[in-house]
Amino acid sequence: MADHQAVEKQTLPPNPEKATLDGRNKYLGFWFFLGGETVLFGSLFGTYLGLRGGVVDGPGPADLFHLDLVFIMTMILLTSSLTSVFAVINMKRGNYKGLLMWMWATVALGIAFLGFEIYEFYEYYHAGLGFTTSAFASSFYTLVGTHGAHVAFGVSWITVLLIRYKSTGLTLTNAPKFYTAVLYWHFIDVVWVFIFTVVYLLGIGG
């Protein structure tokens, strides 16, 4: 019976990611997790804002930050959010090839972002900002580094999904998986909005 069902075709529901109880639970549980992540980043932002004046004799925000680099990174991450939106739209259309293609585009942009961030930290380190140089340095690296770690995790997560499901076609099992990965990706972008505003723009402007 089970073998017979495995080859039985299913018709595409309007929201394949929420068509099963499993999918709905993943969706709800994932938002619960994102609420917790918000608090995690809130505490890192609070610490950074409390400590950013403590530069001791190391370089400060205005000496280090370059608006052009941060602008490029912001645009890359914002575009990767759009590509993952297109992936979800293709998923709802039942266009699995489109879903995979846009998810790969998201991964590529995520890797580009990580590359810029590694370059950025490398430059800061050579400008004399080690992790223990000052309270500003530690809180900056912790906040932006935690975000970078989330990007790295998101990239690996989506890559694993793309490899695991490269030829299965869209199913009610993998639709919620792709959907939650996309939610995570958007959340990374939400956090970055606050990082570029609070850390970089305020670091240069105020």
Binding site: Q10, P14, P16, V39, G50, L82, V198
Partner: protein
């Protein structure tokens, strides 16, 4: 959906006319919100980067722009504007509420009291 369906079977068939139309509208909405976000981000960078805007104005301005952009992300890109997202709204807004208290408390405790 009945409980007899096999979740690992490939999904076949095209979406209904209604879904197709909805998705078309959604694509347009998402593109517009993306362009808005690009515009908002550029405004924020310009207001800090150019000397024409005084910082006393630019700082509250960019914080407000960040708030607008996050709402765009949450409600359009993450679909929090759809029906049946009551609990999702509860979760993310309680998260944001606790995060705001945390940011305020830490800024005060470490930033003001310690220094």
């Amino acid at each position: 959906m009945s409980s007899h369906e096999d979740p690992s079977a490939p999904l076949q068939g095209a979406p209904s006319k209604n879904t197709e139309r909805k998705l078309k509208n959604e694509t347009r909405t998402q593109l517009i919100s993306f362009l808005l976000m690009i515009f908002i981000t550029s405004m924020a960078f310009i207001s800090i980067g150019s000397d024409a805007v005084p910082n006393g104005f630019a700082i509250p301005f960019i914080l407000m722009l960040a708030g607008v952009q996050v709402v765009l992300q949450l409600y359009f890109f993450m679909h929090m504007n759809e029906k049946g997202t009551g609990w999702i709204n509860v979760m993310i807004w309680s998260g944001l509420f606790v995060a705001a208290l945390t940011v305020g408390a830490l800024m005060f405790l470490i930033g003001e009291v310690k220094y």
